[in-house]
Protein backbone atom coordinates (compact mmCIF):
# COMPACT_ATOMS: atom_id res chain seq x y z
CA UNK A 1 0.00 0.00 0.00
CA UNK A 2 1.30 3.45 -0.87
CA UNK A 3 1.27 5.93 1.97
CA UNK A 4 1.44 8.81 -0.47
CA UNK A 5 0.75 8.98 -4.16
CA UNK A 6 1.26 12.20 -6.07
CA UNK A 7 -0.12 12.48 -9.60
CA UNK A 8 0.86 15.13 -12.13
CA UNK A 9 1.33 18.09 -9.83
CA UNK A 10 2.20 21.33 -11.62
CA UNK A 11 2.67 24.65 -9.87
CA UNK A 12 3.33 28.13 -11.21
CA UNK A 13 5.01 30.81 -9.17
CA UNK A 14 5.10 34.39 -10.47
CA UNK A 15 3.86 33.07 -13.83
CA UNK A 16 6.80 30.67 -14.12
CA UNK A 17 6.53 26.92 -13.82
CA UNK A 18 7.96 25.91 -10.44
CA UNK A 19 6.92 22.27 -10.69
CA UNK A 20 6.00 20.37 -13.80
CA UNK A 21 4.13 17.06 -13.86
CA UNK A 22 5.49 15.64 -10.64
CA UNK A 23 4.28 12.09 -10.00
CA UNK A 24 5.61 9.56 -7.53
CA UNK A 25 4.33 7.08 -4.97
CA UNK A 26 5.90 6.45 -1.58
CA UNK A 27 5.58 3.04 0.10
CA UNK A 28 4.41 2.88 3.70
CA UNK A 29 7.17 2.78 6.31
CA UNK A 30 9.89 4.40 4.21
CA UNK A 31 12.10 7.44 4.70
CA UNK A 32 12.30 9.48 1.51
CA UNK A 33 14.71 12.32 0.91
CA UNK A 34 13.64 15.02 -1.55
CA UNK A 35 16.90 16.20 -3.10
CA UNK A 36 17.68 18.81 -5.74
CA UNK A 37 19.48 22.09 -6.43
CA UNK A 38 18.32 25.47 -5.11
CA UNK A 39 15.14 26.54 -6.82
CA UNK A 40 14.30 22.98 -7.81
CA UNK A 41 10.95 23.30 -6.04
CA UNK A 42 11.59 20.97 -3.10
CA UNK A 43 9.76 23.03 -0.48
CA UNK A 44 7.18 24.03 -3.08
CA UNK A 45 6.48 20.34 -3.65
CA UNK A 46 5.85 19.65 0.03
CA UNK A 47 3.68 22.73 0.36
CA UNK A 48 1.61 21.89 -2.67
CA UNK A 49 1.17 18.31 -1.48
CA UNK A 50 -0.15 19.72 1.80
CA UNK A 51 -2.38 22.17 -0.11
CA UNK A 52 -0.62 25.22 1.30
CA UNK A 53 -0.11 26.53 -2.23
CA UNK A 54 -2.51 26.61 -5.15
CA UNK A 55 -1.68 23.98 -7.73
CA UNK A 56 -2.29 24.21 -11.46
CA UNK A 57 -3.16 20.55 -11.74
CA UNK A 58 -2.66 17.21 -10.10
CA UNK A 59 -3.96 15.19 -7.19
CA UNK A 60 -2.56 13.84 -3.94
CA UNK A 61 -3.74 10.76 -2.11
CA UNK A 62 -2.79 9.49 1.33
CA UNK A 63 -3.54 5.77 1.71
CA UNK A 64 -5.71 5.95 -1.41
CA UNK A 65 -7.93 8.75 -0.12
CA UNK A 66 -7.82 12.44 -1.09
CA UNK A 67 -5.44 14.29 1.18
CA UNK A 68 -7.99 16.82 2.40
CA UNK A 69 -9.85 14.01 4.16
CA UNK A 70 -6.66 12.69 5.73
CA UNK A 71 -5.26 15.76 7.51
CA UNK A 72 -5.51 14.14 10.93
CA UNK A 73 -2.89 11.53 10.06
CA UNK A 74 -0.45 14.02 8.53
CA UNK A 75 2.42 15.47 10.52
CA UNK A 76 4.28 18.56 9.37
CA UNK A 77 7.53 20.20 10.40
CA UNK A 78 7.76 23.56 8.56
CA UNK A 79 10.99 25.46 8.08
CA UNK A 80 12.04 27.06 11.32
CA UNK A 81 12.50 30.45 9.65
CA UNK A 82 8.84 30.67 8.71
CA UNK A 83 7.47 31.62 12.11
CA UNK A 84 7.96 34.63 14.39
CA UNK A 85 9.92 33.27 17.35
CA UNK A 86 9.21 36.43 19.32
CA UNK A 87 5.57 35.35 19.60
CA UNK A 88 4.51 35.36 23.27
CA UNK A 89 4.38 31.64 23.95
CA UNK A 90 6.51 28.88 25.45
CA UNK A 91 7.84 25.52 24.26
CA UNK A 92 5.05 23.45 25.81
CA UNK A 93 2.38 25.65 24.19
CA UNK A 94 3.93 25.15 20.77
CA UNK A 95 3.97 21.38 21.25
CA UNK A 96 0.33 21.50 22.32
CA UNK A 97 -0.52 23.03 18.94
CA UNK A 98 0.19 19.60 17.52
CA UNK A 99 -2.93 18.42 19.36
CA UNK A 100 -5.25 21.23 18.20
CA UNK A 101 -7.16 19.26 15.60
CA UNK A 102 -7.67 16.52 18.17
CA UNK A 103 -8.80 18.94 20.88
CA UNK A 104 -11.49 20.49 18.69
CA UNK A 105 -12.93 23.95 18.17
CA UNK A 106 -13.39 26.26 21.20
CA UNK A 107 -12.13 23.65 23.68
CA UNK A 108 -9.05 24.02 25.79
CA UNK A 109 -6.34 21.39 26.19
CA UNK A 110 -7.15 19.03 29.06
CA UNK A 111 -4.66 17.36 31.41
CA UNK A 112 -4.28 14.34 29.17
CA UNK A 113 -3.28 16.49 26.21
CA UNK A 114 -0.82 18.47 28.34
CA UNK A 115 0.74 15.25 29.69
CA UNK A 116 1.02 13.99 26.12
CA UNK A 117 2.77 17.18 25.00
CA UNK A 118 5.15 16.99 27.96
CA UNK A 119 6.05 13.41 27.08
CA UNK A 120 6.87 14.54 23.53
CA UNK A 121 9.13 17.32 24.86
CA UNK A 122 10.90 14.77 27.03
CA UNK A 123 11.50 12.51 24.04
CA UNK A 124 13.48 15.25 22.30
CA UNK A 125 15.34 16.08 25.51
CA UNK A 126 13.55 19.40 26.07
CA UNK A 127 11.59 18.65 29.25
CA UNK A 128 13.53 21.29 31.22
CA UNK A 129 12.56 24.00 28.73
CA UNK A 130 8.78 23.53 28.78
CA UNK A 131 8.01 26.97 30.19
CA UNK A 132 10.83 28.75 28.37
CA UNK A 133 9.80 31.61 26.06
CA UNK A 134 10.53 30.34 22.55
CA UNK A 135 12.74 33.28 21.56
CA UNK A 136 15.15 32.23 24.31
CA UNK A 137 15.79 28.84 22.72
CA UNK A 138 18.73 28.12 20.43
CA UNK A 139 18.13 27.18 16.79
CA UNK A 140 18.59 23.51 17.57
CA UNK A 141 16.24 23.70 20.54
CA UNK A 142 13.60 25.43 18.44
CA UNK A 143 13.86 22.65 15.87
CA UNK A 144 13.43 20.08 18.66
CA UNK A 145 10.29 21.86 19.79
CA UNK A 146 8.97 21.58 16.23
CA UNK A 147 9.86 17.87 16.24
CA UNK A 148 8.04 17.38 19.54
CA UNK A 149 5.02 19.16 18.06
CA UNK A 150 5.07 16.82 15.05
CA UNK A 151 5.38 13.88 17.41
CA UNK A 152 2.42 15.15 19.42
CA UNK A 153 0.32 14.95 16.26
CA UNK A 154 0.75 11.16 16.32
CA UNK A 155 0.52 11.13 12.54
CA UNK A 156 1.09 8.31 10.05
CA UNK A 157 2.80 10.33 7.33
CA UNK A 158 5.33 13.03 8.19
CA UNK A 159 6.56 15.90 6.02
CA UNK A 160 9.70 17.73 7.14
CA UNK A 161 10.99 20.84 5.39
CA UNK A 162 14.77 21.21 5.78
CA UNK A 163 14.81 19.97 9.37
CA UNK A 164 18.62 19.91 9.48
CA UNK A 165 19.10 23.53 8.43
CA UNK A 166 21.15 25.44 10.98
CA UNK A 167 20.99 22.90 13.82
CA UNK A 168 23.79 21.59 16.01
CA UNK A 169 25.23 18.06 15.70
CA UNK A 170 23.32 16.64 18.66
CA UNK A 171 20.00 17.93 17.31
CA UNK A 172 20.82 16.42 13.92
CA UNK A 173 21.38 13.08 15.67
CA UNK A 174 18.11 13.47 17.57
CA UNK A 175 16.24 14.09 14.30
CA UNK A 176 17.77 10.99 12.68
CA UNK A 177 16.95 8.94 15.77
CA UNK A 178 13.34 10.11 15.67
CA UNK A 179 13.00 9.39 11.93
CA UNK A 180 14.25 5.87 12.50
CA UNK A 181 11.82 5.35 15.37
CA UNK A 182 8.97 6.53 13.19
CA UNK A 183 10.03 4.13 10.47
CA UNK A 184 10.20 1.29 12.98
CA UNK A 185 6.62 2.12 13.99
CA UNK A 186 5.59 1.80 10.34
CA UNK A 187 5.27 5.54 9.78
CA UNK A 188 6.23 7.19 6.52
CA UNK A 189 8.61 10.15 6.43
CA UNK A 190 9.40 12.64 3.64
CA UNK A 191 12.26 15.05 4.16
CA UNK A 192 13.38 18.03 2.06
CA UNK A 193 17.13 17.76 2.28
CA UNK A 194 20.13 19.80 1.24
CA UNK A 195 23.29 17.94 2.14
CA UNK A 196 24.26 15.40 -0.53
CA UNK A 197 26.90 13.76 1.64
CA UNK A 198 24.44 12.35 4.15
CA UNK A 199 21.84 11.10 1.67
CA UNK A 200 23.10 7.52 1.69
CA UNK A 201 23.01 7.33 5.49
CA UNK A 202 19.66 8.97 6.13
CA UNK A 203 17.23 7.84 3.46
CA UNK A 204 16.10 4.52 2.04
CA UNK A 205 14.29 6.28 -0.83
CA UNK A 206 15.27 9.36 -2.79
CA UNK A 207 13.32 11.70 -5.04
CA UNK A 208 15.72 13.66 -7.24
CA UNK A 209 13.91 16.80 -8.28
CA UNK A 210 14.59 19.67 -10.59
CA UNK A 211 11.17 21.18 -11.36
CA UNK A 212 10.15 17.73 -12.55
CA UNK A 213 11.30 14.42 -11.10
CA UNK A 214 14.67 13.21 -12.43
CA UNK A 215 14.49 9.88 -10.65
CA UNK A 216 12.66 8.24 -7.79
CA UNK A 217 13.28 4.94 -6.04
CA UNK A 218 15.54 3.21 -3.56
CA UNK A 219 18.56 5.27 -2.66
CA UNK A 220 21.15 2.87 -4.09
CA UNK A 221 19.59 2.83 -7.52
CA UNK A 222 18.65 6.52 -7.71
CA UNK A 223 21.51 8.30 -5.99
CA UNK A 224 24.02 7.82 -8.79
CA UNK A 225 26.43 10.25 -10.36
CA UNK A 226 24.56 10.08 -13.65
CA UNK A 227 21.26 11.06 -12.07
CA UNK A 228 22.90 13.76 -9.96
CA UNK A 229 24.49 15.29 -13.01
CA UNK A 230 21.10 15.41 -14.65
CA UNK A 231 19.52 17.09 -11.65
CA UNK A 232 22.30 19.52 -10.87
CA UNK A 233 23.67 20.16 -14.37
CA UNK A 234 27.41 20.62 -14.63
CA UNK A 235 27.78 21.76 -11.04
CA UNK A 236 28.03 18.21 -9.78
CA UNK A 237 31.61 17.89 -11.06
CA UNK A 238 32.63 19.12 -7.63
CA UNK A 239 31.23 16.04 -5.99
CA UNK A 240 34.09 13.67 -6.68
CA UNK A 241 37.00 16.04 -6.32
CA UNK A 242 36.02 18.10 -3.31
CA UNK A 243 33.00 16.72 -1.50
CA UNK A 244 33.08 19.42 1.16
CA UNK A 245 32.46 22.20 -1.34
CA UNK A 246 29.40 20.54 -2.79
CA UNK A 247 27.47 21.26 0.35
CA UNK A 248 27.98 24.98 -0.02
CA UNK A 249 27.69 25.03 -3.74
CA UNK A 250 24.39 23.24 -4.03
Amino acid sequence: MYALSVKDISVTYDKQLALENVSFAVPEGSITGIIGPNGAGKSTLIKSILQLLPTLSGSVEIFNKPIRTQKKIIGYVPQRSEVDWDFPTNALDVVLMGRYNHIGLFKRANKKEVAWAKACLEKVGMQDYATRQISQLSGGQQQRVFLARAMAQDAKVYFMDEPFAGVDASTEKAIIQLMKEWKAEGKTVLVVHHDLQTVNDYFDHVLLLNKSPIAYGETQSVFTLDNLEQAYGGKIAFLQKAPSTVKEYT
Binding site: D84, P88, T89, M97, N101
Partner: protein, 289 residues
Protein backbone atom coordinates in the same frame (compact mmCIF):
# COMPACT_ATOMS: atom_id res chain seq x y z
CA UNK B 1 -17.51 69.81 44.87
CA UNK B 2 -21.21 69.67 44.30
CA UNK B 3 -20.56 69.51 40.59
CA UNK B 4 -18.33 66.47 41.05
CA UNK B 5 -20.90 64.59 43.19
CA UNK B 6 -23.75 65.17 40.82
CA UNK B 7 -21.45 64.25 37.99
CA UNK B 8 -20.74 60.78 39.37
CA UNK B 9 -24.30 60.08 40.41
CA UNK B 10 -25.73 60.72 36.96
CA UNK B 11 -27.21 57.54 35.54
CA UNK B 12 -26.00 58.42 32.09
CA UNK B 13 -22.45 58.65 33.33
CA UNK B 14 -22.64 55.21 34.89
CA UNK B 15 -23.50 53.87 31.48
CA UNK B 16 -20.65 55.86 29.93
CA UNK B 17 -18.29 54.32 32.47
CA UNK B 18 -19.46 50.77 31.74
CA UNK B 19 -19.35 51.43 28.01
CA UNK B 20 -15.86 52.89 27.99
CA UNK B 21 -14.60 50.14 30.29
CA UNK B 22 -15.91 47.32 28.11
CA UNK B 23 -14.91 49.06 24.89
CA UNK B 24 -11.36 49.56 26.19
CA UNK B 25 -11.17 45.95 27.33
CA UNK B 26 -12.45 44.62 23.99
CA UNK B 27 -10.01 46.83 22.06
CA UNK B 28 -7.05 45.65 24.11
CA UNK B 29 -7.96 41.98 23.75
CA UNK B 30 -8.69 42.09 20.02
CA UNK B 31 -5.75 44.45 19.45
CA UNK B 32 -3.38 41.86 20.92
CA UNK B 33 -4.08 39.56 17.99
CA UNK B 34 -3.95 42.43 15.49
CA UNK B 35 -0.54 43.46 16.82
CA UNK B 36 0.88 39.93 16.69
CA UNK B 37 -0.51 39.51 13.18
CA UNK B 38 1.42 42.69 12.24
CA UNK B 39 -1.73 44.42 11.05
CA UNK B 40 -1.63 47.49 13.27
CA UNK B 41 -1.58 49.88 10.35
CA UNK B 42 -4.35 48.08 8.52
CA UNK B 43 -6.56 48.56 11.56
CA UNK B 44 -5.77 52.27 11.39
CA UNK B 45 -6.88 52.35 7.76
CA UNK B 46 -10.08 50.52 8.69
CA UNK B 47 -10.80 53.12 11.35
CA UNK B 48 -10.22 56.13 9.09
CA UNK B 49 -12.28 54.51 6.36
CA UNK B 50 -15.28 54.38 8.70
CA UNK B 51 -15.86 58.15 8.37
CA UNK B 52 -17.08 58.28 4.74
CA UNK B 53 -19.43 55.37 5.54
CA UNK B 54 -21.09 57.35 8.30
CA UNK B 55 -21.43 60.43 6.06
CA UNK B 56 -22.76 58.55 3.03
CA UNK B 57 -25.51 56.90 5.07
CA UNK B 58 -26.46 60.29 6.54
CA UNK B 59 -26.59 61.96 3.12
CA UNK B 60 -28.55 59.14 1.52
CA UNK B 61 -31.14 58.59 4.24
CA UNK B 62 -31.07 61.89 6.16
CA UNK B 63 -31.34 60.03 9.45
CA UNK B 64 -29.11 60.11 12.45
CA UNK B 65 -29.99 56.63 13.61
CA UNK B 66 -26.78 55.32 15.10
CA UNK B 67 -27.05 51.64 14.05
CA UNK B 68 -27.61 52.79 10.45
CA UNK B 69 -24.59 55.10 10.52
CA UNK B 70 -22.43 52.37 12.03
CA UNK B 71 -23.52 49.88 9.37
CA UNK B 72 -22.28 52.37 6.77
CA UNK B 73 -19.01 52.67 8.70
CA UNK B 74 -18.57 48.88 8.64
CA UNK B 75 -19.14 48.73 4.89
CA UNK B 76 -16.54 51.38 3.98
CA UNK B 77 -14.09 49.86 6.50
CA UNK B 78 -14.34 46.51 4.79
CA UNK B 79 -14.04 48.09 1.34
CA UNK B 80 -10.85 49.82 2.49
CA UNK B 81 -9.36 46.57 3.80
CA UNK B 82 -10.24 44.77 0.61
CA UNK B 83 -8.76 47.61 -1.46
CA UNK B 84 -5.46 47.35 0.38
CA UNK B 85 -5.37 43.60 -0.32
CA UNK B 86 -6.20 44.13 -3.98
CA UNK B 87 -3.55 46.82 -4.44
CA UNK B 88 -0.89 44.60 -2.85
CA UNK B 89 -1.89 41.53 -4.86
CA UNK B 90 -2.41 43.20 -8.23
CA UNK B 91 0.37 45.77 -8.37
CA UNK B 92 3.96 46.24 -7.34
CA UNK B 93 2.94 48.62 -4.56
CA UNK B 94 3.95 47.33 -1.13
CA UNK B 95 1.64 47.07 1.86
CA UNK B 96 2.84 50.20 3.68
CA UNK B 97 2.32 52.40 0.61
CA UNK B 98 -1.06 50.80 -0.11
CA UNK B 99 -2.18 51.54 3.46
CA UNK B 100 -0.95 55.13 3.14
CA UNK B 101 -2.96 55.64 -0.04
CA UNK B 102 -6.14 54.07 1.33
CA UNK B 103 -6.04 55.97 4.64
CA UNK B 104 -5.74 59.33 2.91
CA UNK B 105 -8.28 58.63 0.16
CA UNK B 106 -10.98 57.40 2.53
CA UNK B 107 -10.35 59.97 5.26
CA UNK B 108 -10.16 62.77 2.68
CA UNK B 109 -13.49 61.65 1.23
CA UNK B 110 -14.94 61.51 4.73
CA UNK B 111 -13.90 65.08 5.52
CA UNK B 112 -15.27 66.40 2.21
CA UNK B 113 -18.61 64.69 2.82
CA UNK B 114 -18.72 65.91 6.41
CA UNK B 115 -18.12 69.51 5.32
CA UNK B 116 -20.83 69.14 2.70
CA UNK B 117 -23.25 67.88 5.35
CA UNK B 118 -22.46 70.73 7.71
CA UNK B 119 -22.99 73.36 5.02
CA UNK B 120 -26.05 71.90 3.38
CA UNK B 121 -27.99 70.07 6.00
CA UNK B 122 -31.10 71.94 7.03
CA UNK B 123 -32.01 70.20 10.24
CA UNK B 124 -30.00 69.43 13.31
CA UNK B 125 -26.93 67.62 12.12
CA UNK B 126 -24.96 68.25 15.28
CA UNK B 127 -22.83 65.34 16.36
CA UNK B 128 -21.52 63.92 13.14
CA UNK B 129 -18.24 65.75 13.58
CA UNK B 130 -17.79 64.00 16.92
CA UNK B 131 -17.08 60.85 14.91
CA UNK B 132 -13.65 62.32 14.14
CA UNK B 133 -12.26 62.60 17.67
CA UNK B 134 -15.05 61.04 19.71
CA UNK B 135 -17.23 62.72 22.32
CA UNK B 136 -18.33 60.64 25.28
CA UNK B 137 -20.35 63.49 26.74
CA UNK B 138 -22.61 63.72 23.70
CA UNK B 139 -23.56 60.06 23.81
CA UNK B 140 -27.12 59.21 24.72
CA UNK B 141 -27.99 56.17 26.76
CA UNK B 142 -28.92 53.97 23.80
CA UNK B 143 -25.55 54.73 22.15
CA UNK B 144 -23.66 53.69 25.24
CA UNK B 145 -25.76 50.58 25.69
CA UNK B 146 -24.91 49.60 22.14
CA UNK B 147 -21.21 50.08 22.88
CA UNK B 148 -21.37 48.12 26.15
CA UNK B 149 -23.33 45.16 24.83
CA UNK B 150 -21.38 45.06 21.58
CA UNK B 151 -18.04 45.13 23.36
CA UNK B 152 -19.16 42.40 25.75
CA UNK B 153 -20.15 40.13 22.86
CA UNK B 154 -16.83 40.77 21.10
CA UNK B 155 -14.88 39.87 24.25
CA UNK B 156 -16.76 36.56 24.54
CA UNK B 157 -16.16 35.77 20.85
CA UNK B 158 -12.44 36.49 21.16
CA UNK B 159 -12.19 34.22 24.19
CA UNK B 160 -13.93 31.43 22.26
CA UNK B 161 -11.50 31.70 19.35
CA UNK B 162 -8.40 32.19 21.52
CA UNK B 163 -6.71 28.88 20.66
CA UNK B 164 -7.60 29.15 16.97
CA UNK B 165 -6.32 32.74 16.63
CA UNK B 166 -3.13 31.78 18.43
CA UNK B 167 -2.16 28.98 16.05
CA UNK B 168 -3.26 30.72 12.88
CA UNK B 169 -1.18 33.79 13.73
CA UNK B 170 1.88 31.99 15.11
CA UNK B 171 2.15 29.31 12.42
CA UNK B 172 -0.48 29.55 9.67
CA UNK B 173 1.33 27.05 7.44
CA UNK B 174 1.32 24.39 10.12
CA UNK B 175 -2.28 25.15 11.01
CA UNK B 176 -3.33 24.72 7.37
CA UNK B 177 -1.16 21.62 7.12
CA UNK B 178 -3.07 19.90 9.91
CA UNK B 179 -6.37 20.87 8.35
CA UNK B 180 -7.52 23.87 10.39
CA UNK B 181 -9.64 26.46 8.50
CA UNK B 182 -7.14 29.31 8.86
CA UNK B 183 -8.85 31.51 6.27
CA UNK B 184 -12.06 31.30 8.26
CA UNK B 185 -10.28 32.24 11.50
CA UNK B 186 -8.66 35.21 9.73
CA UNK B 187 -12.11 36.27 8.59
CA UNK B 188 -13.46 36.06 12.13
CA UNK B 189 -10.60 38.22 13.42
CA UNK B 190 -11.21 40.76 10.64
CA UNK B 191 -14.89 40.86 11.60
CA UNK B 192 -13.97 41.46 15.27
CA UNK B 193 -11.64 44.34 14.34
CA UNK B 194 -14.25 46.02 12.15
CA UNK B 195 -16.87 45.51 14.85
CA UNK B 196 -14.78 47.04 17.63
CA UNK B 197 -13.80 49.99 15.41
CA UNK B 198 -17.40 50.59 14.43
CA UNK B 199 -18.87 50.46 17.93
CA UNK B 200 -15.98 52.51 19.29
CA UNK B 201 -15.84 55.44 16.85
CA UNK B 202 -18.57 57.46 18.56
CA UNK B 203 -16.60 57.44 21.78
CA UNK B 204 -13.00 57.48 20.55
CA UNK B 205 -13.28 58.78 16.98
CA UNK B 206 -11.97 57.38 13.71
CA UNK B 207 -8.62 59.15 13.92
CA UNK B 208 -7.46 57.65 17.17
CA UNK B 209 -9.33 54.40 17.76
CA UNK B 210 -6.50 52.39 16.22
CA UNK B 211 -4.32 53.63 19.08
CA UNK B 212 -6.74 52.05 21.54
CA UNK B 213 -6.37 48.78 19.64
CA UNK B 214 -2.59 48.84 19.48
CA UNK B 215 -1.12 50.73 22.45
CA UNK B 216 -2.54 48.53 25.26
CA UNK B 217 -1.21 45.25 23.75
CA UNK B 218 2.22 46.78 23.12
CA UNK B 219 2.30 47.85 26.77
CA UNK B 220 1.14 44.41 27.91
CA UNK B 221 3.90 42.70 25.92
CA UNK B 222 6.44 44.43 28.20
CA UNK B 223 5.07 42.55 31.20
CA UNK B 224 4.62 39.00 30.01
CA UNK B 225 5.71 36.28 27.58
CA UNK B 226 2.39 34.44 27.75
CA UNK B 227 -0.30 35.21 25.18
CA UNK B 228 -3.18 34.59 27.60
CA UNK B 229 -1.84 36.99 30.20
CA UNK B 230 -0.91 39.48 27.47
CA UNK B 231 -4.49 39.68 26.19
CA UNK B 232 -5.93 40.09 29.68
CA UNK B 233 -3.38 42.77 30.61
CA UNK B 234 -4.02 44.55 27.31
CA UNK B 235 -7.72 44.44 28.11
CA UNK B 236 -7.14 45.95 31.56
CA UNK B 237 -4.86 48.68 30.15
CA UNK B 238 -7.46 49.42 27.47
CA UNK B 239 -10.21 49.58 30.09
CA UNK B 240 -8.21 51.99 32.28
CA UNK B 241 -7.50 54.21 29.27
CA UNK B 242 -11.14 54.11 28.17
CA UNK B 243 -12.58 54.97 31.56
CA UNK B 244 -10.08 57.71 32.36
CA UNK B 245 -10.58 59.23 28.91
CA UNK B 246 -14.35 59.18 29.20
CA UNK B 247 -14.36 60.63 32.73
CA UNK B 248 -11.82 63.37 32.09
CA UNK B 249 -13.36 64.48 28.83
CA UNK B 250 -16.83 64.58 30.37
CA UNK B 251 -15.66 66.38 33.49
CA UNK B 252 -13.51 68.92 31.67
CA UNK B 253 -15.99 70.24 29.18
CA UNK B 254 -15.31 70.21 25.46
CA UNK B 255 -12.28 67.98 25.66
CA UNK B 256 -12.70 65.37 22.92
CA UNK B 257 -12.63 61.85 24.35
CA UNK B 258 -10.37 60.09 21.86
CA UNK B 259 -7.26 62.19 22.48
CA UNK B 260 -7.63 61.88 26.26
CA UNK B 261 -8.02 58.10 25.98
CA UNK B 262 -4.95 57.88 23.79
CA UNK B 263 -2.93 60.05 26.15
CA UNK B 264 -3.69 57.79 29.10
CA UNK B 265 -2.93 54.69 27.00
CA UNK B 266 0.38 56.29 26.06
CA UNK B 267 1.16 57.02 29.69
CA UNK B 268 0.66 53.32 30.47
CA UNK B 269 2.89 52.53 27.53
CA UNK B 270 5.77 54.70 28.82
CA UNK B 271 5.47 53.17 32.28
CA UNK B 272 5.61 49.70 30.71
CA UNK B 273 8.50 50.62 28.45
CA UNK B 274 10.51 51.70 31.48
CA UNK B 275 9.42 49.29 34.20
CA UNK B 276 8.01 46.27 32.32
CA UNK B 277 9.18 43.04 33.94
CA UNK B 278 9.87 41.21 30.67
CA UNK B 279 11.26 43.68 28.20
CA UNK B 280 11.25 46.95 30.12
CA UNK B 281 14.35 49.13 29.75
CA UNK B 282 15.02 49.26 33.48
CA UNK B 283 14.68 45.49 33.85
CA UNK B 284 17.02 44.94 30.93
CA UNK B 285 19.51 47.34 32.52
CA UNK B 286 19.38 45.47 35.82
CA UNK B 287 19.90 42.16 34.06
CA UNK B 288 22.89 43.44 32.13
CA UNK B 289 24.49 45.17 35.11
Amino acid sequence: MEAVTSFFSSANLQWVLIGSLLLGFASGVIGSFVLLKKQSLISDAMAHAALPGVCIVYILFQVKSVPFLLAGAAVTSLIATQSIQTIVNRSRIKTDAAIGIIISVFFGLGIVLLTYIQQNSSGNQAGLDSFIFGQAASLVRSDVQLIAIGAFVLIILTALFFKEFKISIFDPQFARGIGLPVTFFNGVLLFLVVAVVVIGIQMVGVVLIAALLITPPISARYWTDRLGLMTILAGIFGAISGVSGAVLSTALHNLPTGPVIVLSASLIFFISLLFGSRKGLLFKGVRHA
